[in-house]
Symmetry: D4
Amino acid sequence: MAKVAIVMGSKSDLKVMEPARLTLQKFKIKSEERIISAHRNPDKLVAYVREAEKKGIEVFIAGAGKAAHLPGVIAAHTSSPVIGVPVETSDLGGMDSLLSIVQMPRGVPVATVAINGSQNAALLAVQILSIKDKELKKKFEEYKKSLAEPPKKKTEEKDEEPIIDG
Amino acid sequence: MAKVAIVMGSKSDLKVMEPARLTLQKFKIKSEERIISAHRNPDKLVAYVREAEKKGIEVFIAGAGKAAHLPGVIAAHTSSPVIGVPVETSDLGGMDSLLSIVQMPRGVPVATVAINGSQNAALLAVQILSIKDKELKKKFEEYKKSLAEPPKKKTEEKDEEPIIDG
Amino acid sequence: MAKVAIVMGSKSDLKVMEPARLTLQKFKIKSEERIISAHRNPDKLVAYVREAEKKGIEVFIAGAGKAAHLPGVIAAHTSSPVIGVPVETSDLGGMDSLLSIVQMPRGVPVATVAINGSQNAALLAVQILSIKDKELKKKFEEYKKSLAEPPKKKTEEKDEEPIIDG
Amino acid sequence: MAKVAIVMGSKSDLKVMEPARLTLQKFKIKSEERIISAHRNPDKLVAYVREAEKKGIEVFIAGAGKAAHLPGVIAAHTSSPVIGVPVETSDLGGMDSLLSIVQMPRGVPVATVAINGSQNAALLAVQILSIKDKELKKKFEEYKKSLAEPPKKKTEEKDEEPIIDG
Amino acid sequence: MAKVAIVMGSKSDLKVMEPARLTLQKFKIKSEERIISAHRNPDKLVAYVREAEKKGIEVFIAGAGKAAHLPGVIAAHTSSPVIGVPVETSDLGGMDSLLSIVQMPRGVPVATVAINGSQNAALLAVQILSIKDKELKKKFEEYKKSLAEPPKKKTEEKDEEPIIDG
Amino acid sequence: MAKVAIVMGSKSDLKVMEPARLTLQKFKIKSEERIISAHRNPDKLVAYVREAEKKGIEVFIAGAGKAAHLPGVIAAHTSSPVIGVPVETSDLGGMDSLLSIVQMPRGVPVATVAINGSQNAALLAVQILSIKDKELKKKFEEYKKSLAEPPKKKTEEKDEEPIIDG
Amino acid sequence: MAKVAIVMGSKSDLKVMEPARLTLQKFKIKSEERIISAHRNPDKLVAYVREAEKKGIEVFIAGAGKAAHLPGVIAAHTSSPVIGVPVETSDLGGMDSLLSIVQMPRGVPVATVAINGSQNAALLAVQILSIKDKELKKKFEEYKKSLAEPPKKKTEEKDEEPIIDG
Amino acid sequence: MAKVAIVMGSKSDLKVMEPARLTLQKFKIKSEERIISAHRNPDKLVAYVREAEKKGIEVFIAGAGKAAHLPGVIAAHTSSPVIGVPVETSDLGGMDSLLSIVQMPRGVPVATVAINGSQNAALLAVQILSIKDKELKKKFEEYKKSLAEPPKKKTEEKDEEPIIDG
């Protein structure tokens, strides 16, 4: 059963949001993806959020661009944590998406990550689910340690090692 | 019966929105004011929007600050025109409110006016209602002409007249 | 007879403004397009606005970029509603166009939509004209409902349906 | 034993961060407050974060202004969720704090809330802790419902009720 | 006879624009001030610009705030140089005024000075009029030299001199 | 003899500044172009500015990007009018160039035009030189009239004419 | 003999720059303060910079606001390190000062600190002078350690200590 | 032995930082490059900074993008001067990197250069090391003079010479 819902407002957000799904997969956390616009299909969105909670969804990840209301609208209808991913926009670079998501009023928080930061959204979901899952917490701790190691795949590259003596 | 609904997200927006009500009064257009947060009370907001349409509301004016979703959420639930008033914020000056209101995605427009521009929101509502009300259109045309006249109240001031020969 | 005028300041805005014309066509609303610069041909613009009102134009849509005065100048000369479309700019992304259009002073509103949001400008015009045209209002309500439906054209894509179980 | 650590970079942030502590108190969640600068006392900060995890801290709330590295540095040293509160600045309004906190690189998320949004940071912590505490989840659901109710304390005020017939 | 017209959109701009008048006075250049809104009284503005040129006005200084179209509209109707003064705004600091004035399209320049920079607008007018007035050019050169001198009025202050040995 | 100096800080600005030279050519105003950096070759810049004034240069056009000090430094050393052209930058779009040029302190104005607006800089120079050259003023008036005419070159295009009946 | 020159463009910058002088005093580094505008008195500025180098000045600290060219102009005339302090502005918060100082072109760096960050400018000067002064380096290391200690003056306050158990 | 450490947060910053290494090479200053993320490998970063100081590193150059904490974290752990290079970002152009680096709190300065300005970072390092190395100072003075000379390589180009008579 899925524990994380990944919701986005439009099909065009799929590519930006894909790292969220793949990252959760690495941690063996089941997720489900939905494309539901907060503005074009608000009733379906509310219905989905309510049903999702019943089904066992524990964290929502919501990506949206421009006047990005999706994460806030989900947050208005659930008591589960909602993580917002501002999607980059061609005109204002995503500053509009960022402010529309992060500047939520008192009472209804959205946990906002960087513009296009869907991978971090997934990692945050892992951290949140680790609150009650010691196994998962261990996996996350290992992941964190692995961040500190130089990548090993390509032997000719030595990351985080001296590169040149200028 | 009220034709214009003035909705705002929080009591703190009342002062910014008051010119909307007063301006509609001058044009003898009945309005009703509601304070309903899109985030804290989304169900009540949706219920109100639907009922408002049935009651005869023809234009919505919605004022909100920060991640200002109120106008967009109303627009998602009505086919009537929605006018958005971005409310000034102490930290970002209202740039957050403006972008959250004006950058609506395709399909669901919000007619956005200036930051704190509730008077203009009311005038826009008058222009919209004038589409089917010739009397009102005349009144608006007279109002427009009056804008061009120097204010007459204080005789010692001569607006739009030469002030000084430098 | 045309009911909506689509005005833009330069031929280079044509592509950005085209969705406005096409959207109005879908609603069977006659429109006329004009390219008249507020700065290079101000007299022609004023003459056109006055003549347009006499001819039966009920709503103006005006698109412009940079120091985008076109919508405001039209609004100064008409009592009909004016919808402003800020056109994206290569240097500042359209922030200059947006602020030049939306921050109108008291007395002369411009109903501003998103940067490059000409389709929404047309939809707003439809909403405004629906004030006195119940048929049109119905069409708009149907359009709104259609927004909520997944696109049906390509059978292999299932929009707004689960995409993957992560 | 405290479950939430509220950390800030300077004593001047105390006022902005106070709602976090008070909100957690309302939910009967023990918290502890520390003032440790990421830049002036980095070793103490790292030591505190490591000891905090051992002591049972499950969520960090970190508030900071300007080049606000505190939340990110904490996130670098813990596998627990870190919530970042950008503190308003007198010159740039807090845009510097916001970008320094939210734009975290891949691998190390910070759950960012609004500028000065320490109350929402606490609510987010409650939501996160609710993942494993059904009692707390219930309390949060009640809190969410209470948001939708008009405040009852002052009888002469009727919030979210019609205010005036224009 | 006045050679410089100082035009502003609203009486509230008078204080910001006063240094323009006073500076021209110091150079013994006659000026005339007018308050005419480009949006509320466009016909009067055009009439004034045309009449001004006939009367002998050689340079226009125009101050305006928000969607500040005044300088651009004047520039559209005159072949004389137009100097634009963006007026500070309470919400966006004058960034809106600046962009609305400086980002003029090809063909119709506005010589823009700093936000609230009406004194510099007058100095620029002096420089422009000096093109054909050698006496004035000399005066301006003397003024420029005087800028380099420490102010002499208050004997206890020694500007541009060492202040303290740290 | 050249009357207008076109100065830029780096060879990479040549393309942005070319329309200035071409526009002056159309008005038969002799200009000279120089590439002198205010930061890398300040002495040569000062020497050039002083010599230029003696040679008969009456207006300076200066284009620069990033921390664009060139126009201001020229203005510091001449009593002739200086027109500044902010050059677009790849990172901040030219906002840095614009603010570095337009926000000049009291006493030393720079007449700023739009980002990359070198053509308008030349037109402003023409307007300034017209102050003492009636022939030139006539030419500029004719140019201004020509702006209002639809372009005639390509017969299949009808600019500023109805394009389509939607 | 002074080793650090503290230069500012206007007397109004004195208050912002004072912490630089006081901080250098604490480290027993002699400094001298000058108020010389890069725009109003460019020759004096150049003369001062050249003479300062001869006198033994080894580091320049320059504070300026708006189109803040002072640090860059000093850097153009010296081979010593120049530290720039962007001064907060009332309209744009100092964003203009910051970009005018930090975005220097290739070849002529300015070491920029935070808006109004004159104390840090002095500390940076100390760090630079420590390159050849081991005594000074030790003092700076002690200063750095002292940053990590809770202030001891007021006994009732316990900084960096637990403040409250929520 | 290396005197300058060039540190960056990610391999993707290598290209932006390369001019730093090459510029130091020209001045025969040995440098060493490291890729160590402040967030993914904070312990290694701290260890490296401490070891670097012992090894004889006298100046740090640190480049980072987005929430760019690297320079600040290094500065927190060393008493040597730290030069920060904000790396351009695809969404916000590097404004996020710039503010995260330059807006450091009191006590811990970072000498910030322009977005992508790694060459200037190296030149600043040269200026700092020149404090105790007269030979190096001479070289830098020669470099500065060379900036003022027109490039000689390509004979057909005459830089800083008249280009065209318009």
